[in-house]
């Protein structure tokens, strides 16, 4: 496997890391670390979906980083949530969907990590349940129940249920 084929998943790697880390600087550091890990394991990686394999490394690197930074994150979480120069939607999207987009982003960012990751992998990366199960290292049934609970929380946050409780 060449480095170039790994680099073709850089956007997906960065998108996942950005959602899981919550700020651009940490996301970039995590992607960097994940690519080094991937490279170290590239010769001996398991067969199968290369994208899912790389995303699992990114995901694990995010969790490692969270563990290392638990204390510091607690201190400046609010500060990072609202500073976001990373997204680049088109001007048309901004005009039409700007408000909704911000609300969706905020709702996703408020999900617990275990729910956020399945939402990002399913809704933004289009992974199948099987691929998500591989990335997150849980059974497919767990993917389904987490996704279902995550969506219930998102619907409540976005008031898509017509205001019903």
């Amino acid at each position: 496997m060449s480095d170039e084929s790994l680099l073709s998943y850089l956007d997906a790697a960065h998108n996942l890391a950005r959602w899981l880390m919550g700020n651009p600087a940490d996301a970039e550091d995590v992607v960097q670390e994940a690519y080094l890990r991937a490279l170290a394991g590239a010769q001996r990686r398991r067969d199968g979906d290369e994208r899912a394999w790389l995303l699992s490394i990114v995901r694990n690197a995010c969790y490692s980083s969270h563990r290392r930074q638990r204390v510091r994150r607690a201190e400046d979480f609010d500060e990072t949530r609202h500073s976001d120069p990373g997204a680049t939607p088109s001007p048309e999207q901004l005009a039409l969907e700007g408000e909704t987009s911000r609300r969706v982003q905020s709702a996703v960012e408020r999900l617990a990590l275990e729910f956020r990751e399945v939402v990002v992998l399913r809704e933004f990366e289009g992974l199948s349940y099987k691929e998500i199960a591989d990335v997150v290292a849980v059974p497919i049934g767990t993917v389904m129940s987490r996704l279902s609970r995550a969506r219930a929380q998102l619907q409540a946050a976005l008031a898509l249920d017509g205001g019903r409780p």
Partner: protein
Amino acid sequence: MTCDGVEHLVDAYVDGELDSERALAVDAHVAGCAACAARLERTRALARTMKTAPYFRAPEALAQRVRATTAAASATGRPRQPDATRRRQSRWWLWLIPVASAAVVLLAVGGLVSRRAAPDEVTMEAVIDGHVRSLMAEHLTDVISSDRHTVKPWFAGRIDFSPTVADLGSEGFPLIGGRLDYIDHHAAAALIYKRRGHVINVFVWPASGGVPTHATRSDGRGYHVVYWTNDGVAIWVVSDLALDELDAFAQKLDAATSH
């Protein structure tokens, strides 16, 4: 199909993950049930709304940075571990770009002679660094369990070899858990044991030759390392435990993992 059934399957239905038989059953129920039809529509509406979320493409600077450092790692064969203690917004990696360039130039010039110390010396430093890192970074374990039947399967799919996990609790060395680590340029299984208050890291990876059989070393910082190869596997044991105790642990571990 019942309303409960639809509630259970509506996400998988919208995601196209249902087999056709169950998808048709959902269709049939929804056609005659206003509540479930509304539920389905809400789920679809959420899916549409989610598409407005920002997608964070990798900035070009990150692409350059990843290229530079993966090139550096390929050139030297030793990926660098990012510094866990860096400050937010730091750009510690900038210096890697000239390093990568220099490494590439050195390779291009040719005749690059390894300037590394003896392999076991380098690995010993890496093993001790890995041990210290595991204690400092709140990252001692990825899987916490004293049950070797939990720890061993955890590594499946994460690394492509299967470390032998021994239960030495009855010998006074309880198993704490496992962790994925990178030592030198190996993906390594790290098994964590304890002896009283002391942490023992056992790093395991497939042996690639050149590792001497059973040797014991100490470094100036109070860490002790015992290492050996067994059936194509390199095993490095590191701790601040007294050397004779660590060696006793190593012998029990070797005995328990040899067949």
